[in-house]
Amino acid sequence: MIRAVLIDDEPLARDIVKHYIADYPEIQIVGECADGYEGLKAISLLKPDLIFLDIQMPKINGFEMLELVDEKPAVIFATAYDEFAIKAFEVNAVDYLLKPIDKQRFDLAIKKLPLRLAQLDRTEAVLDAAALNPMQKTRVVVKKDGVIKIIPIADIHYFEADDDYVKLNTVSGNYYKNKTMAFFEQTLDSSQFIRIHRSYIINVAQITKIELKEKDSYVVLLKSDIWLPVSKTGYAKLKVLLGL
């Protein structure tokens, strides 16, 4: 038995999937959710094997929701129109359905319902690719003590490498995100955020001064009164960006 959860903000869109799944007695729908928050709750509570996930939803979108799921189920994405999302799917060969959803296409997706592990990597790749969408660059969604926070990118002072996580130092405190520094370096707007050191990406708007510590070694002072080291290449990047 495959246990599935439907996550889509439009009831009629969920109805189609339900209608199609009726042909598959081995798939049981255990939950229906109308936004990402509900989706997260249902996933952690019901631990489904499979989710049908819409991209454009209220509050947090499908990608942002999935980023916050620790044990990811198999995912079949569904979207009506989102150039970036579709590109991300195609590149990473994760299964996705375009709305209106065609029955034959749906059957195909179910038939090749991927082996969990193989798909997991590809889902991660989709999330990374989707984060390159300019719409996604305006905020970061994090979870702390079971509460979901949407952090506007401008509220982040700096990113700090911390083992397998990246620590976000923000106006409202510190948060952890299960991503790499390279991921943030790549997805953030490079005129706004700059990697000054192996372990630090700073918000340029937060810089108050840059000082020479010793020969060839600089430090930067942020508005939040924190000194961070600047590597040689980091200083070169700062120089270009600030026109020094």
Binding site: E10, P11, L12, A13, I16, K59, D82, K99, P100, I151
Partner: protein, 352 residues
């Protein structure tokens, strides 16, 4: 524009020409007129160095400034002035050096006119080459500008079309219709006709076309009806249109994006029940449309840039030269009010 003398190839050619010219002059002075080497070399060098400096100066000057009209007169007078300066400067300098050589002085006086003509012709040629250079540069620059402008216009047109079609709305609506064909076929038929009417209305809309309130509100109603099918369980509409506004009119491209914005922030961005309220009233000299939608303060900060409304403000300004026709305010951090005012002239025929 790129200066001709900043290009290495031209720098080399200029230097080569100057050297050849100098060589010819001093060889002529030595072998034809039979002056000694010292006199020949100094005379040839002094004259030609002055000429080279004048050419470089001329070229740079034309890079700074060229008159739009009377270009030829301008160039000729400058060339003439430079020629006189070179000729007399060279003469006094050389005769100062070689004042003792009597035959040199008489030769110089004799050859002065010839030197002048040669110098003038050379400078004029140099000036013409520069004019031609800048003229060609201007032309290719203009072509490039025109090309870029055309490309931008085409892109803008495409974007406008894409926006008009609202693919996200369209495909989601199609998906809803599709679901209805299976669940509730008669409702599906109604929805398809509404979608068709809405699209027809979208396609014929243009900034220049004014529509009356009755027609515009019918169009808006279609749009909201379709959204209501998609989100029936949580979208509530409260639309009030004053009788006396029905014959007033407005440009057919302004209200829909405002309502769309209200839907985007009020409906798409929350999963709660929402009420979208639209009031159409007539106030002295204006038609006033108020759109109210709830919004999530936290989402507003991270979500949209209000781009839709900025472009409407700009268009309103272009149409009426008034910055205050679109006003927005947030009430109690959860209600967003957009007020659109359309000036009404008493003589309706003048705006139709």
């Amino acid at each position: 524009m790129v200066r001709p003398l900043s290009i290495p190839k031209i720098q080399k050619a200029t230097l080569a020409t100057a050297l050849v010219f100098t060589a010819i002059s001093l060889l002529t002075l030595h072998y034809v007129v039979h002056f000694n080497w010292l006199v020949s070399v100094v005379d040839g060098m002094v004259n030609n160095i002055f000429l080279l400096l004048a050419c470089i100066g001329l070229s740079n000057m034309m890079g700074y400034y060229q008159p739009k009209k009377e270009r030829v007169m301008y160039v000729l007078s400058i060339t003439l002035a430079l020629t006189l300066i070179i000729i007399f400067l060279a003469k006094y300098l050389l005769l100062y050096f070689f004042s003792s050589a009597d035959n040199y002085r008489s030769f110089y006086d004799f050859s002065l006119a010839f030197r002048g003509v040669l110098c003038f012709v050379f400078l004029a040629w140099c000036a013409m080459a520069n004019i031609l250079w800048y003229r060609l540069g201007e032309e290719s620059e203009m072509r490039e500008r025109l090309f870029t402008a055309q490309k931008l216009a085409k892109e803008a047109e495409l974007n406008k079309l894409r926006h008009q079609l609202q693919p996200h709305f369209l495909f989601n609506s199609l998906n809803s219709v599709f679901a209805l064909t299976m669940i509730n076929p008669s409702e599906a038929g109604v929805m398809i006709t509404k979608l068709a009417s809405f699209l027809r209305g979208t396609l014929k809309r243009d900034d220049d076309i004014w529509v009356n309130v009755a027609e515009e509100m019918e169009y808006i109603q279609l749009y909201l009806d379709i959204e209501k099918v998609r989100f029936s369980h949580r979208l509530n509409l409260d639309i009030n249109i004053d009788e006396d506004t029905l014959n007033l009119s407005l440009p057919g491209t302004l209200l829909q994006p405002i309502v769309e914005n209200a839907i985007k922030f009020g409906l798409y961005n929350t999963s709660a029940k929402v009420t979208i309220k639209i009031d159409v009233v007539s106030i002295p000299n204006f038609l006033q449309i108020t759109v109210q939608n709830p919004f999530d303060a936290e989402m507003k900060a991270t979500g949209g840039t209000g781009f839709g409304l900025t472009s409407i403000k700009r268009r309103l300004y272009l149409l009426f030269a008034d910055q205050n026709l679109l006003q927005t305010q947030a009430v109690d951090n959860n209600l967003y009010i957009t007020i659109l005012k359309i000036p009404q002239k008493n003589d309706q025929s003048s705006i139709d």
